[in-house]
């Protein structure tokens, strides 16, 4: 019997599970969260109708997926292991996880890594101050408890910035201001990549509706913002300094919400020594995969969703279905009746890739924070500044792993999740080399912390 484990229960993982559940393959979902949905559809099953309205139609659409999968799980056609933190994955297909103080492991014939994305770190002076969160964090607060932060300033660029601003408005807490980093020039460069497919046009229409709603709410928008720095005030607030149109300005708010796009979470693929390539448009590393999602150098490890490359939730569903069909094919099984072909799914996914080219160009991350100022904390966990990383590079550190040995950057609890891209980019700038030649931290298990007690309380049969 063929067994498949799916790591992550976001749109990609859920769609893969549903597709595979129609075959005789044994399907197991291992999910960090207590309920289906991943981050994008987090807590969707417990949202009231009012809350669903406030979060918008795209969020509400996730419920169809979670409901369908919950039914399949209840009828035992898919095994769902929730609140499970994966701490190690091996190239042979073994998955080690911990849950409720105990540890478990199981080996599977195929693994689908659908662990999604992280927000790109936006290191500016003061970004470690309490009250500075990611825009995604503000969204999770609304999803997890209907908590809409009051007195916020949003900083950065991209569709999620606007979506969170709108959701905060609908929750009755309109942000004080949007400090947007994109310039008019960025938008004109982006237009070059725009192809008027039906999906792209509906996407743009949605975006324009959102912008119009934000305009009506009277939120102050600043564009081509640069040189942001944040200070704590003596009233437990944040003073956000920035430059726009050559002028220096400042706004005081209780919270600063940063967002400059999302990037694939590559911790697991890095720990498997899978080759990674540099995505120039989205300015991030991605695991090398073929068009079906099979990771290079392996015949049993697959990627689906934003963890492979950022294409959004709808494309994640497509890639989840695609990987499942590819596994059915690879294991000599016929595809279920009435399924879209692999080729058609790839073509559909490519429409989203084209939209991304447009968005990534319009809302590209800016050099002034990709290469932070010397006094900016670059490694939040070990509190290492950009200057220390620059010094290490000048002293001869060739790449991030040597810089890690010199300065401890990347050695902290987050294991480089929020400093890896910054350090690689910073070292590339100092050495005047392309980022892809600098490389990235070597990631090793445990990819999430595990105590000796949890390791010792090991259960080999689930």
């Amino acid at each position: 019997m063929t067994s498949v484990a799916i790591l992550g229960a976001g749109p990609a993982g859920m769609k893969a599970a549903l597709t595979l559940s129609k075959s005789d393959i044994s399907v197991t979902i291992i999910d960090e969260q207590p309920h289906l949905g991943g981050q994008i559809y987090r807590n969707i099953e417990t949202q009231s109708d009012t809350q669903l309205k406030k979060m918008g139609a795209d969020f509400a659409a996730g419920r169809a997926l979670t409901s369908e999968l919950n039914t399949v799980i209840q009828s035992n056609r898919v095994r769902y292991i929730s609140s499970a933190i994966v701490w190690s994955v091996t190239p042979e297909g073994a998955v080690h996880w911990k849950s409720d103080g105990r540890s478990f492991s199981e080996t599977f014939d195929h693994l689908i890594i659908a662990t999604g994305a992280l927000e790109r770190p936006v290191p500016v002076p003061g970004w470690t101050l309490p009250g500075v969160l990611t825009a995604g964090a503000a969204q999770i607060l609304m999803k997890n408890g209907g908590v809409a932060l009051k007195d916020t300033v949003l900083i950065g660029s991209g569709p999620l910035l606007y979506l969170v601003a709108k959701q905060l408005c609908d929750y009755g807490s309109p942000p004080k201001a949007l400090l947007e980093t994109q310039s008019f020039e960025d938008l004109t460069k982006g237009i070059v990549h725009f192809r008027p497919t039906r999906t792209a046009l509906s996407y743009v229409f949605k975006g324009l509706c959102m912008l119009s709603a934000l305009r009506k709410s009277g939120i102050k928008r600043y564009c081509a913002v640069e040189e942001v720095s944040i200070e704590a005030t003596d009233t437990d607030n944040l003073k956000i300094n920035f430059t726009t149109g050559g002028k220096k300005q400042a706004i005081t708010a209780a919270y600063a919400l940063q967002h400059a796009g999302v990037v694939p979470n590559t911790q697991i693929t890095r720990s498997l020594d899978i080759e990674h390539k540099w995505n120039k448009l989205n300015h991030c590393f991605e695991a090398n995969i073929d068009s079906n999602g099979l990771a290079s150098g392996t015949d049993k490890i697959w990627l689906a969703g934003d963890g492979a490359t950022i294409l959004g939730a709808d494309a994640a569903k497509i890639s989840g279905e695609l990987v499942a069909l590819a596994i059915l094919k690879a294991t000599g099984r016929s595809t279920p009746p009435n399924t879209t072909s692999i080729e058609a799914l790839i073509a559909k996914r490519d429409t989203y890739a084209q939209i991304r080219r447009f968005l990534d160009t319009c809302y590209r991350p800016k050099d002034w924070f990709l290469t932070p100022t010397a006094d900016t904390v670059v490694c939040r966990c070990e509190e290492v500044s950009a200057q220390e990383v620059i010094n290490a590079t000048k002293a001869g550190a060739q790449g991030p792993n040597q810089a890690k040995a010199f300065t401890r950057c990347g050695m902290g609890n987050c294991q480089g999740r929020y400093c890896g891209l910054t350090v690689s980019n910073l070292m590339a700038k100092v050495q005047r080399k392309p980022v892809e030649s600098i490389g990235y931290y070597r990631i090793r298990s445990p990819i999430k912390p595990i105590t000796l007690g949890e390791l010792a309380d090991y259960h080999s049969d689930q």
Partner: protein, 92 residues
């Protein structure tokens, strides 16, 4: 319906069913959860998705708990983590 609360550094924090500790703390406008171990700087929630490890607190005597991942429960005792000086003090 009974009021659900947990304590944070001795203060009662209300929460509703299903909220994480971090969500409840931010609902109460509490931004600082702990102090860092190297430079003793204040930190709180940042990513809210269990990836950044900034929201670490002591929950029912267990340190290094990610407040954004732990579902709040009635009577939980949540405390700030501080830098190593607290450990050194206890050793005296």
């Amino acid at each position: 319906m009974d009021d659900l609360t947990f304590s944070f550094n001795g203060r009662d924090i209300p929460f509703s069913d299903g909220m994480t500790v971090a969500t409840a703390l931010l609902q109460a406008n509490i931004k600082t959860f702990r102090e860092t171990q190297v430079l003793e700087k204040p930190r709180g929630a940042f990513c809210m998705m269990g990836a950044c490890f900034d929201c670490l607190v002591i929950i029912d005597s267990k340190p290094n708990q990610q407040a954004c991942q732990v579902i709040a429960a009635l009577g939980m005792e949540v405390k700030s983590q501080t830098s190593r000086t607290e450990i050194l003090e206890n050793l005296k």
